[in-house]
């Protein structure tokens, strides 16, 4: 089902709002509605309408002569920070092991 950009933006805005509420509770700070809107818009655009990671993925994929995006491509997006790369790599390993467990159960 094709989704309108407005609908996608609304979903991102809502989710960003939820995440900001969690940060507010954790850190005892307040976000203005405008700052949540700005974070939402930046997140939305980062996700691909401006061709950012989306285009990156295509380039990475082609670079490795693949047509399917894999976790390796995702890891490359995090390459600039060791902390972020470690975090993403851990998540990817957790995901992989839980996937193999699920397959075993079947």
């Amino acid at each position: 089902l094709p989704r309108s950009p407005q609908r996608l933006k609304a979903a991102v805005h809502y989710t960003v709002g939820c995440l900001c509420r969690e940060v507010e509770e954790d850190k005892d700070v307040q976000f203005s509605k405008q700052s949540i809107a700005a974070i939402a818009e930046i997140t939305f655009r980062q996700c691909g309408t401006a061709g950012l990671p989306g285009e990156c993925f295509l380039v990475l994929c082609r670079h490795a002569k693949r047509t399917t995006v894999t976790t390796e491509d995702v890891k490359l997006l995090a390459r600039r920070s060791n902390s972020l790369l470690k975090y993403i790599t851990q998540k990817s390993e957790e995901l992989a092991s839980s996937n193999t467990e699920k397959k075993k159960k079947k």
Binding site: Q34, A50, L52, S83
Partner: protein, 146 residues
């Protein structure tokens, strides 16, 4: 013939610093014209370090700096950044344009108080099935229009 002579003399000059480091002559120039010394009365410029607020830090901690340094700021001139600045040989990237438009959006919202035009514009388009992920339930109330 003149050209080839010139080329040969350039090659000679090149040979004297085939290594990665500066030749004594280049070092002298660097030391005299560019090197920041204490007597210059300006601080050594340094770039801010990458840091993630929400992750355990693995980055090298900044070395204790000798003398005073000036950390280059990427936010000091933010009010200049809501339009593309001139380019020389390299065009602005998509990522750069995204930054500019985000700065523009924030400039436009700067004086809004309370209600947010972005939120009001998007609220009618929100479908809960797009966002209804497990663990999100306690926040459901905030999406309901007042």
């Amino acid at each position: 013939r003149i050209l080839s002579k010139e080329r040969r003399s350039r090659q000679k000059r090149m040979n004297s610093h085939e290594s990665w480091s500066l030749s004594p002559e280049e070092f002298e120039i660097w030391d005299r014209l560019y090197r920041i010394k204490q007597s210059d009365g300006i601080k050594e410029p340094v770039l801010p370090q990458v840091q993630f607020e929400t992750l355990e830090s693995l980055e090298e901690t900044a070395k204790p700096q000798e003398g005073e340094v000036r950390e280059l700021s990427l936010s000091e001139w933010s009010i200049w950044q809501n339009h593309p600045l001139p380019t020389s040989l390299v065009d602005h990237s998509d990522r750069c344009h995204l930054f500019i438009s985000a700065m523009e959006m924030m400039e436009l919202m700067r004086y809004q108080k309370g209600e947010c035009s972005y939120e009001q514009e998007l609220q009618p388009h929100l479908r809960m099935e797009d966002v209804n992920i497990p663990g999100n339930k306690r926040n459901l109330s905030m999406a309901k229009p007042p």
